[in-house]
Amino acid sequence: MGIGRSAISVPPFPSASEPQPSQRSSATDTALKRRLQERLGPQLLGAVTARQDTTEIRIGPTDVARVMTLLHDDPEFRFLILSDLCGVDTGSVMQVVYHLWSDATPDWLRVIVDGLPRDDPRAPSVTFLWNGAEWAEREAYDMFGIIFEGNRDLRRIYMPPDYQSFPLRKDFLLADDAARSPGQGVRHMEQTFQPAEYRRTEVLRQGLGSDAGQMAPGLQTAELASGEDPAR
């Protein structure tokens, strides 16, 4: 096995450097790159990169709805199929990564929503375009804690509903790794990481204070920011 990463200092993921020139001849669609740069210019963070058969763009969380609608509806893009939606924890920021397919271009399009802060990651939901993204967003929430605003059903999908941690975060260590990290000692497997201001979708909030305590004592404190009225 290789050199593991120490628990505390998770090195930031190498930022978008220009990828190595590909040795294999796979066609990348340069026309697509140009079109994206023209139409989406102001919303892109950084240049459009293309490698092998994937073109990649980065946007900020505020532009998601507009960019996705454009890519979906525009007749020269026609990215009608969302292949994948996932969350990524790079150690310094969180990202949401979409992969889109269009019949107008042979390339995959990767849209990286970059710059979500690790302590309060929020992104808009794309369930208004694709209903099927609902569960994928639930999964990203379950594994990372990324809150998708606009998803009508944002609750845990894999872990039990009273689970406290977000397993795929980089600060969540498996028991073996926690034991092997220098200076850590043997810790409990779940290292709870509470985001700072943690809100759920605004729905029925009655009785959340007393009933939640019965099920999981930690639930109460995680739920409310300081000094908030539970009945709001």
Binding site: Y158, M159, P160, P167, F172, L174, A175, D176, M189, E190
Partner: protein, 259 residues
């Protein structure tokens, strides 16, 4: 009924009124199959060797205690929760009648082993091999194990095939508790024996013997259908050897405590 005064006499732990004779205030252990509360008069040894059958003179199959056939409880208590609150020693059907194993016992065990009905508890990949063992090429039907019952109330054997996750552990233990005795458990596959390839994971239970008593471990990832059939035949052999003393079988993990 004549009682031999040189031998210890079995005292029923529950009178017909339903009140326990002595207060049982230690919490009931999770696996209800362990001989946890030794009954008075029963010479149970604490080591793992097979218990010597206690000889009690008997006249045809009538028990001394009319409540013995109700699991020691008065007949109106049937709910599972009340059973949990009560004492969890094995006072099922034959428990009060530790008699010399007779030919009738032998025949009963033969009947049991030749029609072990498994419960469909296929969780993951091992379920494919379990189904493969049940279908035409490797036939489990020739051992009498074809009917994979859907309901735990009708099943004898729980073949746990597939990784047990922490979310599924609750329902699985509930299934186990719903199965009527005598029942056996076969841990099929590495994930159920010890956690297997998912031992480091945050969401799995490292081996089902953490949550329920296991009789036969069938290792493999996944074990071949022939391997599962071998495990079932071992189970049959085990049942025959026990000669009816099924609650005192060797179960549980072999890892010493504290490791």
């Amino acid at each position: 009924m004549e009682v031999n005064n040189d031998r210890p006499v079995i005292q029923p732990s529950v009178t017909s009124g339903g009140q326990p004779l002595e207060a049982r205030d230690e919490p009931a252990p999770m696996a209800s199959d362990q001989p946890s509360n030794p009954q008075d008069g029963l010479a149970t040894t604490r080591d793992d060797s097979l218990v010597e059958p206690i000889i009690v003179a008997n006249s045809t199959w009538t028990p001394a205690d009319p409540t013995a056939y109700n699991g020691g409880q008065p007949p109106q208590i049937t709910h599972l929760r009340e059973l949990e609150l009560g004492d969890k020693s094995d006072n099922a059907r034959w428990g009060a009648l530790d008699i010399i194993p007779t030919k009738a016992d032998y025949v009963l065990d033969l009947i049991r082993i030749n029609s072990l009905w498994p419960l469909l508890s296929g969780l993951a990949c091992c379920a494919m091999e379990m189904m493969s063992a049940a279908t035409s090429r490797n036939d489990m039907d020739r051992f009498g194990m074809f009917p994979f019952r859907a309901s735990p109330r009708q099943a004898d054997v729980l073949i746990v095939a597939g990784t047990l996750t922490t979310k599924m552990a609750g329902p699985l233990v509930r299934l186990w508790e719903q199965m009527p005795e005598p029942k056996w458990c076969v841990a099929m596959g590495d994930c159920t024996c010890s956690g297997g390839r998912y031992k480091r994971s945050y969401a799995t239970v490292e081996g089902i013997d953490r949550v329920m008593p296991v009789d036969v471990y069938v290792p493999g990832c996944p074990p071949r259908p022939e391997g599962l059939i071998y495990g079932m035949m071992k189970l049959q052999q085990l049942i025959k050897e026990r000669r009816g003393h099924w609650p005192e079988r060797h179960i549980g993990p072999t890892v010493p405590v504290g490791v």
